[in-house]
């Protein structure tokens, strides 16, 4: 959960103070980068069996572009933001979410194979085996990679709901506001996402 800044900083940013904007940028860039990384298919080692310390350059550029556009839009549309209606982090997540959705629509023509049924935990461990590293760390990394692949295999709406609620610490009402759905719809998405993840991950453990 992101702590809110002093309301006066937000008021100054709305009034056009570039220094206040920089303060907001520094405060929120981490969580927004994290959200975009989790949402985009190029997130850390997903879908390509890369070791966890390798980060696809192209993916980093996409994340950077979306993060950049998120904050530029914040500045451009700052007059429309009403602090009484929503937290700034909610508003930023909404912008970033819409940009991620745009990105998915544009990149649908070149899907990456995210078929997690083709790999098991043991297979992935064998692929990334490295005798110099402690087994436990390797096991954790492999679990994390498989989880990310399973997350990426979820439909976009289910993934959005899960990432916002579980990882970004946003409430169900905030998630509903960001995604433009009702709270009941968000909870339904969360339940379906958890069910599918359970099935996929249990299958991988076998």
């Amino acid at each position: 959960m992101v702590e809110e800044l002093d309301p006066s900083v937000i008021d100054e940013m709305i009034a056009g103070n570039a220094e206040a904007f920089q303060q907001i940028l520094r405060h929120h860039i981490g969580p927004i980068t994290g959200y975009v990384m989790r949402m985009t298919r190029y997130s850390h080692g997903v879908g390509n069996h890369l070791p966890a310390d390798t980060f696809e350059k192209k993916g980093e550029d996409i994340v950077e572009d979306i993060v950049q556009e998120t904050f530029v839009r914040l500045w451009e549309k700052r007059q429309r933001y009403d602090p009484k209606r929503a937290r700034l982090t909610t508003w930023l997540h909404r912008i970033a979410h819409n940009l991620c959705v745009d990105h998915f629509r544009r990149s649908q023509r070149t899907p990456i194979n995210l078929d997690i049924n083709g790999a098991s935990l043991a297979e992935t461990e064998a692929q990334t085996s490295d005798s110099d590293r402690p087994d436990r760390r390797m096991a954790q990394q492999n679990r994390a990679i498989l989880l990310r692949r399973a997350l990426m295999a979820l439909p976009e709406k289910q993934r959005s709901a899960l990432v916002m609620c579980h990882y970004q610490g946003l409430s169900n009402k905030e998630t509903a506001e960001i995604t433009g759905m009702s709270v009941a719809a968000v909870e339904s998405l969360l339940a379906r996402a958890r069910k599918k993840l359970k099935q996929d991950l249990l299958h991988l453990q076998e």
Partner: protein, 180 residues
């Protein structure tokens, strides 16, 4: 109002860890579980699979890792520079700033257009042509004094010669006007 259906919905959506339940319903759900054996059964039934899934989800606390800090720092530095570069142009309070914002191509834009600088560069040329066409030139017949008129005529002829872009100066212009 908390009931079995609502509790089941909450557990299905958020898992069995009460810390992840909606804050405004958490206390009511916990109170309900304490009072109702049926509610405790619903919770117990979900423990095994829910805890396992939460363990999986929590294994990817990537945002807390030093690796993420490095990536975030890298992205943050580059994005911040680009954002500020774009944002600083946006306020454009003065007319001059607004003019330069309009004029200069945006390096982050995919389609950089150079017609604006071209248009601005051609403005002095157009202005010169307009001024030239409006300015009266030629031999002033009302000059006072014959010498002034001759000097002025010579200057005018030399100017015409230069404009003609030819090496051959007409005979009547090459001589000394004072002799004729």
């Amino acid at each position: 109002m908390m009931n079995l259906d609502r509790l089941q919905t909450i557990i299905n959506a958020y898992g069995n860890d009460a810390a992840r339940w909606p804050a405004d319903e958490r206390q009511a759900a916990l109170t309900f579980i304490n009072k109702s054996s049926a509610a405790r059964q619903v919770l117990q039934a979900s423990v095994a699979t829910s805890e396992e899934l939460d363990a999986w989800l929590d294994s990817d606390m990537f945002l807390d890792s030093p690796e993420f800090e490095q990536i975030k720092h890298r992205i943050g530095q580059r994005a911040t520079a680009r954002i500020l570069d774009r944002v600083i142009k946006i306020p454009a309070d003065s007319n001059l700033e607004r003019f330069f914002t309009w004029l200069l191509p945006d390096p982050t834009s995919r389609s950089i257009s150079f017609w604006k600088p071209g248009l601005v560069a051609s403005l002095p040329l157009v202005l010169g042509m307009v001024l030239g066409s409006l300015t009266e030139t030629g031999i002033r017949l009302d000059s006072t004094g014959a010498e002034d008129a001759l000097v002025e005529n010579q200057a005018w002829d030399e100017e015409l010669y230069l404009l003609a872009l030819t090496d051959q100066m007409p005979r009547q212009w090459s001589g000394d006007w004072t002799e004729e």
